[in-house]
Each structure stands twice: as C-alpha cells, then as structure tokens.
C-alpha cells in the first residue's frame, strides 16, 4: 500500500501518462497477431489436408502452446533460444527483449489461430465444395471462392477472442522489462507509491481497448454474415451456445433422415 490517501485526480493523470506506452502494447499485439495468423494458417493446413507426419507435429505444436502458461513460454524463449542458438554460433545476447516477446506471442497466438482456422474451415459444409466441383471448379477455386470467404466470417468472433486474449496476455511482458502499459504502470507506481490510482487507470485502459476491439469484431461479423441473419443476430451470445445451435441444426437434419428410413 502507498502512504498517500486515494485521490481520483491521479487516476486521470496516470491515464494520460500511460498513453505513450500504448504504442509498445499495440506493437506487440499487432505484430504477434499478424505473424500468428500466418503461423496459424501454416499449422492448420497439415491438419486440414491430413498430411501424415506434419499433421502430428502441428498437433504437438498446438497442444504445447495451449497446454503451458504463457509466462513460462516467455521465459523459455527469452532464456532458452539464445542458449540453443549459441550451439550454432549465433549470438543473440544483444537482441532486444522485445524480439523474444513478439516471438513468443506470435507462436502462442499462432496455436490458437490454427485451431480457429481449422474449426472454421470444417464448419463450411462439405456439400458446397462438392457443388463447386460439380459446376466445374478446381480445388483452388472451390477453396478460395467458396470455403475461405465463409470460413472467414464464421471465424470472426473466435478470432476476436484470440486478439483480446492476446492483448491481456501482453501484460506479462513487463517480466522481461518491457515498458508496455503494464511495465510503465509498474514503474510509475513504484516511483509515486500510488499503486491503486495507477492500476485503476491501467485497468481502464485495457478495458477500453478490449471493448473497442470487441465492438469492431462484432461489426465485422455482422457485415460478413449478412447472408446468415439468424447466425449474425446471435453475436452477443457466448460461443458455446452458437456451436450448440449449429449442432442442433445438424442433428435435426439427421433426425429427418432417420425418419425417412
């Protein structure tokens, strides 16, 4: 606890003083989501196309990054990668910590994004691909014109969750001395001993960005899913419920099939 009494005015002051550090936070989020999306696609493909050995490797990759805490991953990469590369005579001792942070967050979100892509692509029903083949499209045309656009719009809400999760996870980067908004808040708190005010403004800042991202993704989803008004109307429902609805629809299809027999 600081020795000062709580003063609301400081909350506003710290909020403004945190803003410059937002660059660093957004840089980590932006670049790791960007790289993570490419990684995710590369990791998802062997599973989608059932490529024998690569498929196992990509499953291993996903379970490692989903199954271990990001803080440990951060330390493993920060301390471990330079050690390993030393064996190959590559010197990383002067590489900025930010590099390792972005590397870790990219690989971490890549694992989640791979799952998002895999789920979204398999949610587009196989029948449409067959219809595409039947009108004479080749595999690439069917994927890029029929599957991909629908997979994208299906994946938007979950993708949004990954981005927001990533934003919140970056608050651990301060452990490697990164001056993102959390790192900045730490040092401001230590200097002023007004921890409560600092953390209130920090929380507010995270909340505002998360909220803005959430609205952005909801909007994007509504735009992309205008062809499925029923699904787009459910944006606010939790994901579990939506996939449940989808399953319901599928099972009612089955029931109807059974009834015919």
């Amino acid at each position: 606890m600081g020795q000062h009494g709580f003063e609301i005015a400081y909350v506003f002051e710290y909020f403004y003083r945190l803003l410059p550090a937002l660059k660093v936070t957004l840089l980590i989020v932006g670049s790791s989501i960007g790289i993570g999306t490419i990684v995710g696609l590369l990791v998802a493909l062997p599973q989608l196309y059932r490529i024998p050995v690569l498929r196992r490797l990509s499953q291993l990759y996903v379970s490692f990054f989903r199954g271990t805490p990001i803080l440990i991953q951060l330390f493993l990469f920060y301390y471990g990668v330079p050690e390993v590369l030393k064996l190959f005579y590559v010197d990383l001792t002067r590489t900025p910590a930010l590099f390792f942070v972005i590397l870790t967050y990219s690989l971490h979100s890549g694992a989640y994004i791979a799952e998002v892509i895999r789920g979204a692509v398999s949610a587009v029903d196989r029948g449409q691909v067959e219809a595409a083949y039947a009108v004479g499209m080749n595999g690439f045309q069917a994927f890029s014109r029929i599957v991909l656009p629908q997979a994208l719009s299906i994946s938007i809400p979950v993708y949004g969750n990954v981005v927001i999760g990533n934003l919140k996870d970056t608050s651990l980067a301060f452990t490697l001395g990164i001056l993102d908004i959390t790192g900045k808040a730490q040092s401001m708190g230590t200097l002023s001993q007004r921890f409560i005010e600092v953390y209130i403004s920090l929380a507010a800042l995270y909340f505002i960005i998360s909220f803005a991202l959430q609205k952005l993704f909801e909007r994007l989803e509504r735009r992309l899913l205008r062809h499925e008004p029923a699904a787009a109307g459910l944006t606010k429902e939790p994901l579990v419920k939506r996939s449940f609805l989808r399953r319901e629809a599928a099972s009612s299809k089955w029931r109807r099939k059974e009834a015919q027999l």
Partner: protein, 250 residues
C-alpha cells in the same frame, strides 16, 4: 449419348457397385429406383466423378474417361459435361440466388459478368424465381432453394443433369413446385438422370426406368413395363411397398 460400362466401386472391402452398364440417349429422362443402400447415389456421383469408380469407362457426349487411367484434366472435362442437383441443395450460402447461378458461368466458363447475369436471370425466371434474385439461401424455403439448385445446373448447359433425390429433404407441401419444374425442363428435351422415391412422378415423367438393388441393375425398361409388368421378383417386391393399397397400412 451417355454410356457407362462396367462401373465398379468399393469402399474398403465392401463392394457397392458390381459392374454397372447403362446407356442413356439424348433427351432421355432416366429414373433410378431402388431400396436404400442399393448404390443409387454412388452411381450418380460416379458419373461426374464426385466419387471415384474403381473400374469402368464413362462416356458422355463422345468424351470417354477410363477410370483406371485418367488425368486431372479428364475429370475436369467430364465434369463440364454434367451438372448436379443435390438432395441437400448445397447452394453457396454466402451468395445470392443470382450469384449462385452466375458463379459457374463466370468462374468456370469465363463468361463476361453481364452476359452471365442475363443467363442467370433467364434461368431463375424459368424456375419461377424471377422475384428472388437477390435473396440469400437462408431467406428461401427448401423448395425455392432446390429450384435455385436446378437453375444453377441448367445455366451451365450441361449434356446431362444428374438429380439425387431432389425432393426428399422437402416438406411435403413443397415437393410439388420442384417436381413441376423438373417436369417442365424434361419437356424441353434436356437429358436427365434422376434418383427418386416419387413413384408416380417417375412413372409419368421418365422415359426410362432403372431398378437397382445391391449394387446391380436388376431390371430396366419403359416405365409402363417396369411398373405394370415387372419381370424380376425383387422389382415386384420393391414396387409392392409403394402400391396404393399398402398406403393404408402406414
């Protein structure tokens, strides 16, 4: 015009088609009947290579594919000669009715957009959906979706349209509108192969009826021959289930 010879298909160790021979003339409407699991869908899907036959030759409009040795371009050529109407419609859900019909014309046949649009409108009008051009599949009833499916197939001017139980996922009151569209295009002389359980429809629209059981063609002929004087015991038994008097027993 269409000739299938010795088409065989196995899934693993289970053989589903045991060497099917079938000849379809230009303008014929062939109805394929048979109990569930007899291989009707599989046969139809082999004709446009959605299913890869293990053996046999397929000829459509002078173009022959030997299933034992073929290239990707053979498959593509073969698919251009046919179009398919699916039991579950399989419309592209992110595209409007109009875009569904235009898609193949633009992407595969490389028609200029404006020309493709005109043709698509014409086809949708033919199936009675001139007022639903901009509707997405989610905004259409099952019967309307299936009619878009038919328009999509027609637009490609295929040599043959393959229809797999086009009405069996529809609510009973919507079956009629789809059947009457099919009846209408049959009258225009378009070659069709239809798998169906609608006996009376098969009887009055088909020019040729094929009865399948256990992966073989048991009997085929004119509708009158098959429905009124079937020769094979299995055909008789199958048709008896659909005969009017059995309707009361449900």
């Amino acid at each position: 015009m269409i000739q299938l010879s010795q088409i065989k298909k196995s899934y693993g160790r289970q053989q589903v088609l045991h060497g099917i021979d079938l000849t379809v003339g230009k303008g014929d409407v062939v109805a394929i009947l048979g109990p569930s699991g007899s291989g009707k869908t599989t046969l139809l899907r082999c004709i446009n290579y959605l299913e890869r036959p293990s053996e046999g030759d397929i000829t459509i409009d002078g173009f022959t594919v030997h299933c034992k040795r073929l290239t990707k371009s053979d498959i593509h050529q073969l698919r251009l000669k046919s179009a398919m109407v699916f039991q579950q419609y399989n419309l592209f859900r992110h595209k409007t009715a109009l875009e569904n019909v235009m898609e193949g014309l633009v992407v595969v046949h490389k028609l200029p957009k404006e020309q493709a649009r005109l043709r698509a409108v014409e086809m949708l009008e033919k199936v009675g959906l001139g007022d639903k051009l901009d509707a997405y599949p989610s905004q259409l009833s099952g019967g309307q979706q299936q009619r878009v499916g038919i328009a999509r197939a027609l637009a490609l001017s295929p040599k043959v349209i393959l229809l797999d139980e086009p009405t069996s996922s529809l609510d009973p009151e919507l079956v009629g509108e789809v059947l009457s569209v099919i009846r209408k295009i049959a009258k225009e002389g378009i070659t069709m192969i239809i798998v169906t359980h609608e006996m009376s429809f098969a009887q009055d629209v088909a020019s040729h009826v094929v009865f399948m059981d256990n992966g073989t063609i048991v009997e085929q002929g004119k509708p009158r021959e098959i429905f009124q004087s079937p020769k094979e015991e299995r055909t008789k038994q199958f048709l008896k289930r659909f005969a009017p008097e059995s309707a009361y027993s449900i």
